[in-house]
């Protein structure tokens, strides 16, 4: 398989994730779409790692996974705190900083 196939799949998934972040309003789903974008970046990293025959890209992908896990933990903590405070879980309703 040519490496370019994997890179194109990665580009498609990244754009699907970007569209999801922009259209969805539930913060949980926005986090899921962020995961989608991070995974697309991981696929590109591993594809380029294979292209060069060098393992550095794979280590980079693992570090990206670690950062994604941290982001999910803190993001879900924020969502649970929002739920406890009876703040509506909707990105459109959260406009207190709107000015």
């Amino acid at each position: 398989m040519n490496i370019s196939w994997f890179i194109v799949v990665s580009a498609f998934v990244f754009c699907i994730g970007a569209a999801g972040v922009l259209t969805r309003r539930n913060p949980l789903v926005i986090l899921l779409c962020l995961e989608l974008m991070l995974n697309a970046a991981n696929l590109a990293l591993i594809g380029f790692s294979r292209m060069h025959g060098n393992g550095d890209g794979q280590v980079f992908a693992i570090i990206v996974m670690v950062v994604a896990a941290c982001e999910v933990t803190v993001g879900l903590g924020v969502i649970v705190a929002m739920y406890r405070r009876r703040v509506p879980i909707d990105a459109d309703e959260l406009r207190e900083l709107h000015g």
Binding site: S4, N26, G47, V66
Partner: protein
Amino acid sequence: MAEVFFFIAAFFVFGGAIGVVGLRNPFYNVLALVTHLFGLAGMFLLLRAQFVAAAQVVVYAGAVMVLYVFVVAYVGGQDEPLSVSTGRGNRALAVLFAGALLVELCVAILGSGLEALDSDGAGVAANDPNGFGTPGYIGSLLLTKFLFAFEAASILLLIAAVGAVVLARRRGGVGTLDEQRRISVSDLLAPIGTGTMAEAASGHVGTPALEAEGERTEGEPVKVTGW
């Protein structure tokens, strides 16, 4: 053979991704992301990243998604109304933006002139002596060349765990700090067993005023005040 496997994996990857964006129930979104992650792990296997594929399945599809499922179950996955109140213009604009991003990325990939993109990748033999992508290979890289990133990632994980606990803890729930029981000197001076079930069983009422009264009839429930 690799082509067949690639297209099966791509089917799962795209199906999962579209499911994450398109389905309305957050619970189904999470399940679609799990499908997506399994497809992606298959692609990692095709790219000879065995360890990353295994970590993807175990850590992502296993642990992180379970966390998501629990939060969806706790918060209660409300369906989003299909008609967006803020207008369809936003949605059309978002799709337009994503399409423009895709065109841009495709132009960047095809116009990059990287000739190696049209190859199967640099020479990594099927039985590479270094073991490209195996746990041993990744481990030796992590502990030699990328030791600092490895340690920084561990500290980052610790900070994130502490931060999540602080963010999601219950504030002002059962009682504030002032109402909580404070340790005083009388606690230490009182005989062992004061205020416990054992004392009640041996006939002590526990309240000095009631004990001094001593006139209550047998079987009458002790009136306990001041919960």
